[in-house]
């Protein structure tokens, strides 16, 4: 299957600063892809280069196999939904949506039909005659989306479109966007800095940092198998266990961590003996017992802090070997703990060796 979008060695410099640095990215058609990262990581720049609003300093961008870097935005078969919607204030809703259609030379009948179809998709048929300043934020967002879909592009770009909405509306829109993507079957490329949003909506997440791709994969993979410290920290929370690699046996690595031998999943790395190695471990992957278990791995420790967070409680535990770990326990698990002296452990496969 040919990728619908491909970036080949794309660089973008602003003066001497690289906003995008040696980007190589291939996106398969029909997916909901999220570009995720902190501000300044280059995700918006990448999106804008794809849309035609920025020119790459070097490299080439391919859309459906064709090179498009030299094409202006109106000649590309991509459309973009802006963060502030950018609805035309002097046109009503119907004409906003029809804008792209009018420029294609369709007949009035065809335009009318398609506009009403799109409005029906977001259940705003009655709003065709309204002006943008008469709409609420959520409604504007939907209209902006329909306007971008009207010319039937194969790739739709969304530049943090939900950031201006309040939490409840945001969640609702997330589901709607996902549904529309599934229904229309188009490739959606979504930019956000909110990792929860990315995990909820995406088929594929591309984590970016300082103009480069840190890791790319489906949400599960990124969450349970982060390859770098950055990804482990940016998505969800993580404990970082620093130690020295002792040995590797198949897919399991043994690491000397503060004097204790622990085991972790190799996670695609090849740690050399005695090399400094970091292991990432999610707080919720740790189990906590009142007494030393006989059937599984556990270390002795003492709870030094408890923070109640509603659905779970965050615990900080000082271990016998001198290190400290953060845990997350739900109320049921917490009820089994009596005093502050406890035993903590994890399954081998829940700890992963990081590549850096």
């Amino acid at each position: 299957m040919q990728p619908v979008v491909q970036f080949e060695n794309v660089n973008k410099y602003y003066g001497a600063l690289p906003a995008v640095d040696g980007l190589n990215l291939a996106i398969d058609p029909g997916q909901f892809v999220t570009l995720l990262g902190p501000s300044g990581c280059g995700k918006s720049t990448t999106l804008r280069m794809l849309g035609g609003f920025e020119q790459p300093s070097s490299g080439e961008i391919y859309l459906e196999g064709k090179a498009i870097s030299h094409l202006p935005p109106n000649r590309r078969n991509v459309n973009i939904v802006f963060q502030d919607y950018a609805l035309f204030p002097h046109l009503n809703v119907g004409r906003n949506i029809a804008f792209g259609l009018e420029l294609k030379g369709l007949s009035s009948d065809a335009i009318h039909k398609r506009t009403m179809e799109l409005l029906a998709l977001v259940k705003l048929e009655d709003f065709a005659g309204r002006m943008p300043d008469q709409l609420s934020g959520g409604q504007r967002q939907r209209i902006a989306l329909m306007r971008a879909l009207a010319p039937d592009p194969n790739v739709l770009l969304l530049d943090e479109p939900l950031s201006a909405l309040d939490a409840k509306l945001r969640q609702q829109m997330q589901i709607e966007l996902k549904t529309i993507q599934r229904t229309t079957g188009k490739t959606f490329i979504f930019v956000t800095h909110d990792q929860e949003e990315a995990l909820t909506m995406s088929d594929v997440i591309v984590v970016m940092n300082k103009g480069r791709i840190e890791q790319m994969g489906d949400p599960n993979e990124l969450y349970s198998r982060p390859r770098s410290r950055f990804v482990a920290n940016f998505i969800g929370q993580s404990n970082f266990l620093e130690g020295k690699a002792l040995s590797v046996d198949g897919s399991v690595a043994t690491i000397d961590w503060n004097g204790t031998a622990i085991r972790a999943d190799v996670n695609g790395t090849q740690p050399a003996k005695d090399s400094p190695t970091t292991v990432a471990l999610r707080p919720e992957a740790l189990y906590c017992l009142a007494e030393q278990p006989q059937d599984r791995f556990a270390l002795k420790g003492r709870i030094v802090q408890r923070v109640f967070k509603g659905a779970h409680t965050a615990l900080t535990v000082d271990l016998e070997n001198g290190a400290q770990l953060d845990l997350q326990l739900d109320p049921v698990a917490l009820s089994h703990i009596g005093t502050d002296d406890i035993w903590v452990g994890w399954r081998e496969r829940d700890a992963v060796v990081l590549a850096d």
Binding site: P72, I80, A86, F88, P89
Partner: protein, 263 residues
């Protein structure tokens, strides 16, 4: 909270305001009153009142011709100044143009040069390029006078336009011309209308430029001036009052619109 501004003698300031208002309006009120005087010379007091002067003026062929001439010039001036003004404003807001500050300063040059110098320099200029005095010269000088104001009005409005609007139009398939026509111009409309009304009114009112650049056909101000030199009669007042009322009404309406939309 104590209104601290009341400390400054509020009544004195209020009096200043009303005195000033009277000062501004009194001469015009007198001029209007005189237009109803039933006598052939201008003098107070007015004992007999009549509307005859208005009847006479409105039927006066010279007056009608001068009015039409003035309006025609005004429309041509507006067309030229609006197009050029918008064009300059666009140039000054485009990225990647060198010397934008200089271009803007030069565009505003006619506004900081005293009116007489503007007229004289234009007079010299048309001689050097073989344009005769007359309608074309007048239109050019009026347009040059109005351009700085159009540029500033349009620039202000243009600066408040979200950059994304044009990007969105481009993204949806519009080339730069179409985006300009279908997104930028509609957005600029309030400023354009204000600018156009300004052009019309300043053109009709203009005296010094027309004085130096005009040909044989008089505009309204030139006609009034000629009549004044020929001897004062209330007929002139009637003419002046008509012009006053029409231009003031249009000007106030436009001013109200722009201030409303700004607030």
């Amino acid at each position: 909270m104590r209104p601290y501004f009341a400390d400054l003698p509020k009544t004195a300031l209020g009096a200043a305001y009303w005195l000033f208002a009277v000062y501004l309006l009194l001469p015009l009120a007198l001029m209007t009153a005189m237009s109803f005087k039933d006598a052939s010379f201008i003098a107070f007091p007015i004992t007999d009142w009549t509307l005859n002067w208005y009847a006479q003026v409105l039927q006066d062929k010279q007056f009608i011709e001068a009015s039409l001439y003035s309006i025609g010039i005004a429309l041509a001036t507006t067309a030229a100044a609006t197009v050029i003004g918008v064009w300059i404003a666009l140039l000054v807001t485009t990225e990647g143009i060198w010397g934008k500050a200089i271009i803007f300063a030069l565009a505003c040059l006619p506004a900081v040069v005293p009116g007489l110098i503007n007229a004289i320099s234009m007079r010299i200029f048309i001689r050097t390029v073989d344009i005769p005095t007359g309608t074309t010269a007048i239109i050019l000088s009026h347009a040059v006078h109005a351009v700085p104001f159009v540029v500033i009005m349009v620039l202000t409005r243009l600066r408040s336009m979200p950059a994304n609007l044009v990007d969105a139009a481009r993204d949806l398939g519009a080339d730069p011309f179409v985006a300009f026509l279908r997104v930028t111009i509609p957005y600029l409309m309030p400023a354009l209308l204000g600018g156009m009304i300004f052009c019309v009114l300043t053109s009709i009112d203009d005296f010094v430029r027309t004085f130096f650049l005009g040909g044989y056909k008089p505009t309204l101000p030139m006609l009034i001036f000629a009549k004044v030199q020929g001897g004062m009669s209330p007929e002139i007042n009637a003419m002046a009052t008509i012009v006053l009322i029409v231009t003031a009404a249009v000007g106030l309406y436009a001013e109200r619109l722009t201030r409303r939309s700004r607030n």
